[in-house]
C-alpha cells in the first residue's frame, strides 16, 4: 500500500519471497530501465542507502500515480512497468498484511476481537503494548552507558547459558584456583557456585584428566614452543609463543575435553549422559564430560579487586584460562533421524548349503551377532518359520540361475531373540573352470517399517520355539515321512545336495543315488541359544561325515567353520591353533587332504579381510 518499500536502505535483507520490493528502490530513481532488467535485479543492494528519503517520497508519488493510472508525465515511462509493478505491489501488500496479522496475534489486546482489526489500530495497540512492556522492565532500556539491546543483558546471559548448557569458568594458571564460575554451574554439576569459587580445579576433575588439564593450563612461559594446527594445510606447526601474551594471539586458544565431578541429586537425569569411568566404583561421584573452549588471558594485577589479588600482588601479571564449559549431548544415543542415510546394508556370503562363510562386520548392528558367532552356521537357523518356504525356493532358484534374485521381506532372528525384517538380493558365483557354484553372495538390507513391534517379535520367537516341535513346514522336495523332523539347518544342506547331484548327473555317470536323509533324526531341536546351535551343527557335522565324499567340499568347509564357531563360544576367541577337524576319518586320505586344504583356503580368504595370511597358523 503505502511507501513501505523504500528498500534501498541498509536493513533490507534478501528474502526470496520479496524480490519485488527491492527492485523498486533503484528503479524509482526515475531511470528508465526496461521491465526485463527489473525482474533480474537482485535483492539486497545494501549499499544504496543514501537516497533513502528521496526514494521514499518518490514512492509516495509513484503510488499515487499508479493507483490512479492517470495520464501524467511519468505514466508514459512507467507504462511498461505497470504489469509487473502491480504484482510487485501486491506482493508487498500481502507481506505487510501478513506481518500485521502476526503482530495482532502477539498482542493480547488484539486477540479477543472477533473481526480482523485494521492496520492502523493494530499498530497503535502495538505501541501501547510496547510502552507497557517497557514500564514493566524498569531500567532495562535506559539510555545509559550500556548500549541498548533488544534484550536486557541479564536475560541474554541466561538465554545464552541455557542454550549452551554450560558455564563460564576462569581459573588461574599457576595454582588452578577457580577465580570465577558462573551461576549456571549449579544446573550442570549440581554444585553451587559458592562451593566452587576459590577451590582448586583439580579437586573436581577426574583423576585421569588431571594431566591433560595441567597441560592446557600451562602458560606460554613454561612451554614456549606450542604445537598448533594450520588448518589451511593440515600441517602441524611449532609456534614460538610470544613472551608476554597480553592479548589474544595465535596459540592462546584452548579447546579440550575433561571430566568433571557432579554430585547426584535425586531425580536428575543427567546420569544418562555420563560416559563410563573406570573409577566409578571408587568414588562416590559420577563424572560428566565437558567440552571447554576458551582463551588464555593475562591481566595486569592492578585491575583485580583487592580480595582476589592477595597472593598475586607480587606477580606482575595474572594469567588465566577463561573458558566456557559445555555439557555435550550424548549424540551417539540419538537415532540419526535427520540425515537420510541408506538403510543399513551388509553383505554375507555362504556356501551353497547356506552356511555363512563371510559376514560383513556391519551386520552386527543389525543382527546383534558378531561375525565370528555366525560363521559356519546355516542361515536357515535364523530365518523365521513363515519364511522358510519362500526362502528355500529362492535358494534353489539362485543356485540355478545366473542372475540376481531378490527375495521378499523376511524375518531374521537376532541375537536377542527378536526378529528384524530384511530383504536380500542373492546371486551365485560359479567357478568358471569347474562350472560349479562356489558360493552365494547376499546383499541384505534392513527394512524398517510397521509391523515389527516388540509384541509381535516376542510372539514370533516364542511361536518359533513351539512350532518347531509341532509343525513341519511343507517344503517341496523334502520327504515328510513320519519320524523325520526337518530342522532349519538341514534345509540348506538338502538343497545343496540336490544341486550337487545335478552336477554329478550332468558331468559324469555315477551311482547318483542321493544319500538318504537318515541322520536327520539324530539332530536336536533348534532352539534360540548359541550353544545348542553349535551343538546341532556339530552333530550335523558328525552325522554328515558318513555321507558321500563328493559333498565333502561344502561340508568340510562347514566342519571347519562350525568347529571354529564352537570354540568361538565367546566372541573374543577365534583360536585357529586349536581347530579340530571332526569327520576326517570318514574320508580317504587324498580327498580328505584336498578337501581340507580347499576349505582352509576358503576360510582364509574370508578371514584375510584384515590380516596377513602368513600369520595364520595352519593346523598341520
Amino acid at each position: 500500500m503505502s511507501a513501505g518499500g523504500s528498500d534501498g536502505t541498509a536493513d533490507r535483507p534478501a528474502g526470496p519471497p520479496d524480490p519485488a520490493a527491492e527492485d523498486e528502490g533503484p528503479s524509482q530513481a526515475g531511470s528508465s530501465l526496461p521491465a526485463v532488467e527489473l525482474a533480474r535485479k537482485r535483492k539486497g543492494d545494501v549499499e544504496e542507502r543514501s537516497d533513502a528519503h528521496v526514494q521514499q517520497s518518490l514512492n509516495i508519488q509513484m503510488d499515487d500515480d499508479l493507483s490512479r493510472s492517470e495520464g501524467e508525465d511519468q505514466q508514459v515511462k512507467m507504462k511498461c512497468f505497470r504489469e509487473p509493478h502491480r504484482q510487485i505491489e501486491k506482493r508487498r501488500r500481502d507481506k505487510m498484511n501478513n506481518l500485521i496479522d502476526e503482530l495482532a496475534a502477539m498482542i493480547p489486546a488484539c486477540q479477543p476481537m472477533a473481526r480482523k482489526l485494521d492496520k492502523l489500530t493494530v499498530l497503535r495497540k502495538a505501541v501501547q503494548h510496547l510502552k507497557a512492556l517497557k514500564a514493566g522492565m524498569g531500567s532495562a532500556f535506559s539510555e545509559t552507558t550500556c548500549k541498548p539491546s533488544i534484550l536486557p543483558h541479564d536475560d541474554l546471559r541466561h538465554l545464552l547459558l541455557r542454550a549452551a548448557d554450560g558455564f563460564l569458568l576462569v581459573v588461574s594458571c599457576d595454582r588452578a584456583k577457580i577465580l570465577f564460575i558462573s551461576e549456571s554451574v549449579s544446573k550442570i554439576l549440581n554444585f553451587s557456585r559458592l562451593e566452587l569459587t576459590g577451590q582448586s580445579l583439580f579437586d573436581f576433575i577426574h583423576p585421569k584428566d588431571i594431566n591433560k588439564v595441567k597441560e592446557q593450563l600451562s602458560s606460554s612461559e613454561m612451554h614456549p614452543r606450542q604445537r598448533l594446527l594450520d588448518a589451511a594445510t593440515g600441517v602441524q606447526v611449532q609456534v614460538d609463543a610470544p613472551v608476554r601474551a597480553t592479548h589474544l594471539t595465535t596459540g592462546a586458544r584452548r579447546s579440550f575435553f575433561c571430566r568433571m565431578k557432579h554430585s547426584r541429586l535425586a531425580g536428575k537425569h543427567e546420569d544418562k549422559h555420563t560416559l563410563p569411568s573406570t573409577s566409578k566404583k571408587k568414588d562416590a561421584y559420577r563424572y560428566c564430560t565437558l567440552h571447554c573452549t576458551g582463551y588464555m588471558r593475562s591481566w595486569p594485577s592492578s585491575q583485580l579487586d583487592s580480595s582476589e589479588a592477595d597472593g598475586d600482588k607480587e606477580t606482575s601479571t595474572l594469567t588465566c584460562l577463561v573458558t566456557m564449559c559445555r555439557l555435550y549431548p550424548h549424540v551417539s544415543q540419538q537415532p540419526p533421524k535427520d540425515i537420510n542415510i541408506k538403510p543399513p546394508e551388509f553383505v554375507t556370503r555362504c556356501a551353497i548349503d547356506g552356511k555363512f562363510t563371510f559376514v560383513d562386520p556391519q551386520a552386527t548392528s543389525v543382527i546383534g551377532y558378531l561375525p565370528q558367532e555366525v560363521l559356519g552356521t546355516s542361515c536357515y537357523e535364523y530365518f523365521h518359520q513363515d519364511d522358510l518356504q519362500h526362502l528355500a525356493g529362492k535358494h534353489r532358484q539362485v543356485l540355478r540361475s545366473k542372475e540376481k534374485i531378490e527375495t521378499q521381506r523376511y524375518k531374521f532372528k537376532t541375537k536377542y531373540g527378536s526378529y528384524v525384517s530384511l530383504q536380500s538380493q542373492w546371486f551365485s558365483f560359479t567357478n568358471p573352470w569347474t562350472k560349479e557354484v562356489e558360493f552365494i553372495v547376499s546383499l541384505n538390507r534392513l527394512i524398517s517399517g510397521p509391523g515389527h513391534t516388540k509384541d509381535e517379535e516376542e510372539a514370533g520367537s516364542s511361536k518359533a520355539l513351539q512350532d518347531d516341535m509341532k509343525q513341519i513346514p511343507v517344503i517341496p522336495g523334502f520327504s515328510s515321512s513320519a519320524g523325520t523332523m526337518i530342522y532349519a539347518g538341514s534345509i540348506g544342506t538338502q538343497i545343496a545336495n540336490e544341486l550337487i547331484d545335478t552336477y554329478r548327473v550332468n558331468s559324469s555317470p555315477s551311482s547318483g543315488a542321493s544319500s538318504p536323509f537318515g541322520p536327520a533324526q539324530e539332530k536336536s531341536p533348534v532352539v534360540s541359544s548359541q550353544t545348542s546351535r553349535s551343538a546341532s551343527s556339530r552333530e550335523e557335522a558328525a552325522g554328515s561325515s558318513s555321507q558321500s565324499q563328493s559333498q565333502s567340499d561344502s561340508r568340510t568347509a562347514a566342519n571347519m567353520s562350525s568347529a571354529t564357531s564352537e570354540s568361538a563360544g565367546e566372541p573374543s576367541q577365534l583360536d585357529l591353533d586349536s581347530m579340530v577337524v571332526p569327520g576326517l576319518s570318514g574320508f580317504s586320505s587324498d580327498e580328505a587332504a584336498m578337501a581340507v586344504i580347499m576349505s582352509l583356503l576358503e576360510t582364509d580368504v574370508n578371514m584375510g579381510q584384515s590380516g596377513d595370511l602368513e600369520d595364520l597358523h595352519w593346523p598341520f
Binding site: K43, I60, I150, L159, S182, G234, D305, V322, Y328, V331
Partner: protein
C-alpha cells in the same frame, strides 16, 4: 463532469496522503519504543519495524515464561563480578538505586560480551516455523549482516537448501523428547556476506559458511506460549588451538582412509602411524558407532566441516577409547596461483580428542585385535 472527477480524485489523494502520514507517525512511535541505536533506527523501513517489534514481543513472552517457571532462582544469588570490587550482593527486591541497577546492567553487559566472545559464536532463537526471533548482536561478525537486518526473518531464507530438511527435523518437537531432554546438535550452512578479509560485502556475493549449532528446544504445553529452539551457532575453527598430548591429528582421503597420522596416536591407541595408512576409519571403530561415523562422513562430504559425536575407537590390543573428532575438508595440495581454474583434490583433516582412558582392555571387538593378541 471531469472537473468533478478531478476534485474527487484530489480529495481522495489528500485523504490517502493523510492516512499515510498518520501511519508513518505510528511507525515512528513504534520504532522509537524499540531498544535500538538511533543510527540503526533511522534506517528502518516499515516491514523491518514490524519484524523487530514482533521479535521483541516474542522474546519478552519467552523470558516471562522462563522467569515464571524458574521462579526466584534467578534472583537468589547475584554473581560476584570479576573486575569490579565488592562482595556478594544480597538478593533482589526492595527499593534499589537506579544507579545500582544501572551498574548491574553494565556488569551484565560486560559479562555477556565476555561470554559471547568466548563462545565464538552467536545466539539464535528460532520459532517452530523457522523465524529467527532473536539473534545476539555479534551475529554481524559471523554473517556480515546485522542483528536488525536479520531478526524476524525466516532462517530458511539464509541457509543452504539441502540443509532445510535437517533444520526442519530439528525444529520439530516430538512428545517423547519433552521427557528425554531436548538437546539439539547439528551442522548447517548459512549465508555469510563476509569477505575473506572480514569486510562486509553484498549479500549477492554471499558465500556459505558452516556453523555448528547446539542448544535445546523449549517446549511449552500452553498453546498460546512460545515454543522455540534455543541455539548457539559457532563456526568450527581448527587452527590456532594448542594441541594437547591427548589429541592427535590425521588426514584422510575422502573415503575416510588414513593418508597421514600423527605420532601421538601410538601412545593413545597403540597403533603406529604406518599401520593406519590406507585403512578406513570404519574398520577401527566400534561397530555400534557406525551411525555416528556415517553422519560425520556425510556432513563432511556435504558441508565440508563436521563435529562427530562421541564414538569409540578400538585400541590395538583390545578395548576401546571414547573419542570425538572435529574435521574439515581441505585441499590436499596447496592451491597454486598459476592454475586457478582447476579443481583441487580434497582430503579430510581431522583432529581427534581422546576423552577417556582405555575401557575394557580385554574385550576383543575385531579380528584385528584378536590377531594381535594371538601374535603377541
Amino acid at each position: 463532469m471531469t472537473a468533478d472527477k478531478e476534485k474527487r480524485r484530489a480529495i481522495s489523494r489528500e485523504a490517502a496522503r493523510r492516512r499515510r502520514r498518520v501511519e508513518s507517525d505510528v511507525f515512528g512511535d513504534l520504532s522509537g519504543l524499540l531498544p535500538l541505536q538511533p543510527s540503526v533506527r533511522a534506517h528502518l523501513d516499515k516491514p523491518s519495524v514490524i519484524r523487530l517489534t514482533l521479535s521483541y514481543i516474542r522474546m519478552h513472552t519467552l523470558l516471562k515464561e522462563n522467569a515464571g517457571t524458574n521462579a526466584g532462582t534467578r534472583h537468589v544469588i547475584k554473581y560476584q563480578p570479576l573486575l569490579k570490587g565488592g562482595g556478594e550482593q544480597s538478593g533482589c527486591g526492595g527499593a534499589r538505586d537506579k544507579e545500582e541497577k544501572e551498574m548491574e546492567e553494565f556488569d551484565a553487559s560486560r559479562e555477556t560480551s565476555m561470554y559471547l566472545g568466548i563462545l565464538e559464536g552467536f545466539v539464535m532463537v528460532l520459532s517452530t516455523e523457522g523465524d529467527m526471533i532473536f539473534l545476539s548482536d555479534n551475529v554481524s561478525k559471523y554473517m556480515g549482516l546485522s542483528q536488525t537486518e536479520l531478526m524476524g526473518h525466516n532462517i530458511f531464507e539464509y541457509t543452504h537448501p539441502c540443509d532445510h530438511e535437517e533444520i526442519r527435523n530439528n525444529l520439530r518437537l516430538t512428545a517423547e523428547e519433552v521427557w528425554y531432554g531436548e538437546k539439539r546438535d547439528f551442522v548447517m550452512r548459512i549465508k555469510s556476506a563476509l569477505t575473506h578479509r572480514g569486510r562486509t560485502a553484498n549479500l549477492k556475493s554471499a558465500t556459505w559458511k558452516v556453523l555448528h549449532c547446539q542448544g535445546r528446544a523449549k517446549v511449552c504445553m500452553d498453546p498460546s506460549a512460545v515454543s522455540c529452539l534455543l541455539l548457539t551457532c559457532r563456526p568450527l575453527p581448527l587452527s590456532h588451538t594448542l594441541l594437547s598430548r591427548y589429541t592427535f591429528t590425521s588426514q584422510h582421503s575422502m573415503d575416510m582412509r588414513f593418508t597421514y597420522c600423527d605420532q601421538r596416536v601410538s601412545s593413545l591407541l597403540g597403533y603406529r602411524p604406518e599401520e593406519l595408512l590406507g585403512r578406513s576409519i570404519y574398520d577401527l571403530c566400534h561397530t555400534l558407532d557406525t551411525n555416528c561415523l556415517n553422519k560425520n562422513h556425510l556432513n563432511l562430504c556435504l558441508k565440508s566441516q563436521s563435529v562427530s559425536g562421541q564414538y569409540r575407537m578400538l585400541v590395538k590390543g583390545g578395548g576401546y577409547v571414547w573419542v570425538e573428532s572435529h574435521s574439515a575438508v581441505i585441499p590436499s595440495v596447496r592451491a597454486s596461483r598459476s592454475r586457478p581454474g582447476i579443481p583441487q583434490p580434497l582430503c579430510i583433516l581431522s583432529v581427534t580428542y581422546v576423552l577417556s582412558g582405555v575401557e575394557q582392555p580385554s574385550l576383543q571387538l575385531s579380528l584385528d585385535q584378536i590377531l594381535h593378541r594371538c601374535l603377541t
